[in-house]
Symmetry: C2
Subunit: 143 residues, 2 copies
DNA sequence: AAATAGAATTAGAATTATTCTAATTAATTA
DNA sequence: TAATTAATTAGAATAATTCTAATTCTATTT
């Protein structure tokens, strides 16, 4: 195993407390915590297979679903592309840079409230918020 | 034809200026302008067939794509569900009410800027913004 | 430690929204 | 009106995801 982080450490992570951490779920969670990009299920599958060649794609989907349900991981959707998964649980949006193809987490400014921006319906209780931006980062010599 | 709005009126709509308005595109656009809910391509197909039984689903997809490209219509995605289409071009988010299943347009407060809420990367040029909310509207006797 | 029960994993089939293909038809231009 | 170009169509193809049913784990109880 080339991984720096042990299975024990992953399984004891506070975010997965209460979730039965099987070998596969541990591996999937480790993959997500490892590269903090936003892999698709297929990409998670490819990475997980390096440590655990027997893992199946269906299991990766199952593990991701369990982690999302449990609130340990966020599922992010860009248009009709494959879902992507993100272990950053702080409130944030996603910027999809069309030049580099990279997805960047965009933190919400602290102190800022959604209701400052949006005319929310009276009595609305928000369970889930997704803010996705698409565009490009202009390369300026000055920066 | 039971429709209040004529094909002529639809084809002359300023939003579609410059787009070749075939019979099918006109019909698809009329469907969207008619019920201002957020139908899927399949739902648009069902509605369009009532006026134009010969229209095909592939054409509905093609027409919707043309209208989206042209900026006459917005394509909205909720998680991994089918895309939905919306003729409201003003900047707005979408609230998906889990109780009623309805999708409600949420206007951006005027004067409010996205950068008030988000820590945007330096030099970022935003081509597209999607804000989607999921939740429920609490029924209060007081309201 | 063995038996049990319930849950997770697996391979592969099924599903479903969407896109593609190739032929036909319609719209625009000359 | 003929020629040209673009749009429409039916049906096949694609791809992400979910489902199914059998197997294997894991945790718990003897």
């Amino acid at each position: 195993m080339k991984n720096e982080v042990t299975a024990q450490e992953i399984a004891n992570h506070p975010k997965v407390k209460g979730l039965r951490m099987t070998r596969q779920r541990t591996e999937v969670y480790r993959v997500l915590m490892g590269h903090r990009d936003h892999p698709t299920a297929g990409e998670v599958f490819e990475r997980a297979k390096q440590n655990m060649p027997s893992i199946s794609l269906a299991t990766v989907y199952n593990c991701l679903e369990a982690l999302v349900q449990h609130g340990a991981v966020r599922q992010v959707n860009f248009e009709r592309e494959s879902s992507r998964y993100c272990p950053n649980l702080s409130e944030h949006g996603h910027f999809h840079d069309e030049t580099s193809g990279k997805i960047i987490d965009i933190p919400l400014k602290k102190g800022a409230a959604l209701s400052d921006l949006l005319e929310l319906p009276k009595g609305a209780q928000i369970d889930n918020l997704e803010i996705t931006l698409r565009g490009r980062v202009l390369q300026s010599k000055a920066l």
